[in-house]
Symmetry: C2
Subunit: 441 residues, 2 copies
């Protein structure tokens, strides 16, 4: 029972528990709906009304509470599987809760946001998703995304695969935004020949705030999950206003702002589609996405080797620290400068890189510019780096995506195969050609 003790006596008097269908009368008005939990400090009863909307009714002497029907006996709560009226629904969508702001509640004690929403609470934030599809909500972990580790990627991929095997039309993963780009890349690689949409969604402002983006993002994500876009995408605000969401490709998406609602950007590519907030239409932007085909078998390849490193290159970097970061790692992605450079005029850095590749390890070059392509044939430094064994033809792959891909390759393939596949486009992580309009002004 999640209500404040001051409200509990009234609930007990009426023999009402969370999940029951109740009627509340106040000042002549009557409300009927399912009682939702309210773990906040305010003295408000929260009802999910029939239309799917929530209402908070402040406690007072005038509030009269009656039980209409008891909730689910087993749990004493409404089921997180909500079925709407027949005929209207666009399919069956599973929502997996991984944690993050979108599945969080504010801790009124510390003021900080904690990943603690239950399935029921989660649904209560945005009940109208049940009008779009038959929704099944399941918590798979409660992890703020800054703490998400490669082991969690494996687990999430596994859980997504389970939902697909159940015959769902799409899977939505509610996830924190901090490392959502990394997870999107990981799922892109771990789920091969994807048969249905897998949509990551998060929010930049928690749902208790007026400016929260969780509502639009989640509704759009559910719509995207019922679409024919069988790709791993990230569904987040396209602009700071509530106008539309973009579906960013999982291997090319990056959180580019700490707090804005439109923080996520497709880097070196275009979003796959947008979901209009007024019409809820999913409008394709790219035409060459993988189409949904439920009969196709999605293969789970969720090995991941942590014997990889992502190393930032910068002026004044300590060669010993470089050596330590590479130590014991079978392969590494360098986040170089410009077209793919490192300060190899420094003898020690040159030596460390040479010894690393000569020791049978693989080093790939990416760029901290983020936008644009690697080209190590233009400058002396690039040519020299290649002579030291550093591999530079990652094209326009993001450093973070390259790191995730590398760990995934090492976790699933023989080492000989790793280099070959690293340079090959597997999940749209590489664009064959860069188009002018992909760089934002």
């Amino acid at each position: 029972m999640s209500y404040k003790s001051s409200l509990k006596s009234k609930l007990e008097e009426a023999d009402v528990e969370v999940g029951d269908l109740v009627r509340i009368s106040k000042n002549g008005k009557k409300y009927e709906g399912v009682l939702l939990p309210n773990s906040s400090s305010d003295e408000t009863f929260v009802l999910k009304l029939d239309g799917g909307y929530n209402i908070g009714i402040e406690e007072s002497e005038n509030v009269i509470l009656e039980k209409v029907k008891e909730g689910d006996e087993k749990t004493g709560q409404i089921s997180p599987t909500v079925k709407g009226e027949e005929g209207e629904k666009e399919g069956e969508v599973s929502v997996l809760l991984a944690g993050g702001t979108i599945a969080s509640r504010v801790d009124y004690r510390t003021g900080a946001v904690k990943p603690s929403a239950t399935e029921e609470e989660f649904l209560s934030f945005t009940p109208e998703i049940a009008e779009i599809a038959d929704i099944e909500i399941r918590e798979v972990m409660q992890t703020l995304s800054e703490n998400i580790q490669p082991g969690d990627w494996k687990k999430i991929a596994e859980e997504v695969k389970k939902e697909i095997r159940k015959g769902k039309d799409g899977v939505v993963v509610a996830h924190g935004t901090d490392t959502m780009g990394y997870t999107a890349a990981a799922l892109s690689f771990m789920l091969e020949d994807l048969s249905v949409p897998v949509v990551l969604v998060g929010s930049q402002r928690s749902s208790d705030r007026g400016s929260s983006d969780s509502h639009q993002n989640l509704v759009c994500a559910i719509k995207a999950a019922t679409s024919d876009i069988a790709e791993v995408t990230v569904c987040m605000h396209g602009e700071s206003s509530d106008s539309f969401c973009y579906l960013h490709p999982g291997t090319k998406v990056r959180k580019m702002h700490t707090s804005r609602r439109d923080a996520f950007k497709t880097v070196n590519g275009k979003p796959i589609a947008k979901v209009d907030w007024e019409t809820l239409e999913v409008e394709a932007i790219k035409e060459d996405y993988r189409r949904k085909e439920k009969e196709r078998e999605t293969k789970l390849k969720n090995g991941f080797s942590q014997d990889v490193a992502l190393v930032k290159i910068y002026p004044g970097m300590d060669p010993d620290a470089l050596e330590a970061q590479l130590d014991g790692k079978e392969a590494a992605v360098l986040e170089g400068t410009g077209l793919g450079h490192a300060p190899i005029k420094n003898e020690k850095i040159r030596e460390v890189l040479k010894e690393y590749t000569e020791g049978g390890n693989i080093a790939f070059m990416s760029s901290q510019c983020l936008y644009g392509r690697i080209n190590m044939n233009v400058y002396e430094t690039g040519v020299d780096l290649q002579e030291l064994g550093v591999i530079g033809n990652l094209h326009d792959m993001l450093p973070e995506t390259a790191y995730v891909k590398l760990g995934w390759l090492l976790g699933n393939y023989d080492k000989e195969k790793v280099e070959e596949l690293m340079l090959k486009n597997l999940r749209d992580e590489i664009s064959e050609r860069t188009k002018q309009d992909q760089f934002r002004r």
Copy 2:
């Protein structure tokens, strides 16, 4: 002598050397000008004409070469100080060559670009800069910017200060683009109370290519150096077409694309001004820049401590590698996720950070989002990190700028002062408030 051997005989016959004033007749046309070097493989004599423009005259049987006047006796070449007609000039500008594409020649043997232009060659690329101001060109190093180290920042700052002491109206630093943002930040801190403009300029495509941006960038940089904007700025293409250059603030500029001419962006702020390519007007965008005042004494504070690290945070990062990067460093900037987070659910990472700060070292948090502000009071992880001693109020300072500032502070101030000054806005590296329009769509 830089001409191909096939042309040398003709030069020798006429007793002509690079730097001499010569007359070339070809098919009835006559050209008079100073013979410039031409180290390329084409069979062309290059003349700097009186109006300041260069012309290439292809060798053939019809080419007649005469010496009009001998060049500077000492060097046998034209002087890199070019004085134009009196009255037209907008001041005296020093151009310091540090290296990079803008001061490079293509090595026709390897096809790679090498930093090897002499002062004379440099001027010959864009002779019309001598029409804008009295130009003095001086090479201070020949370093591709991926190899620029903190010691080079100290040296460049020192050389800039020398030019200011000479009474110049502005100083242009020709520099490679890879790490130009880091150098711009370093010069911003190292030159205090700057009295005249200091403009870094580079090019994304070498000057032998038709699409080179070096011409416009350099002319605009010279114009900027004659303006009243006494700030360290980066002058680069504002758009991919030849329309204008932006003057980006030195502490907020970042190379955001590997190859585009408009690769440089002001992050978390606005450019200070633009220089129109047609009118060469310097139009202020910001109003609150420091005005030129030649009597003000620019203070050189170019200490820099390399006991600092810039550490990228990512899912699956190795706690031992984190420890190694912090080892022996007095202070560090973490490039965290989102609002300023790190995976401290990992006990070992938590332990490493705790031991680091408890050992009397200082750790600051920045964000790999690049855009937006740090806020470690919103989420549990941020609050916990602060309890571990990580300092999170760097506002919207770029990770790279924070790293440069930290090394600079440690190189010039007592350790007690470092923390205080790190959080204080010294060179516009911190914006008090972020405006909506600073994040690109």
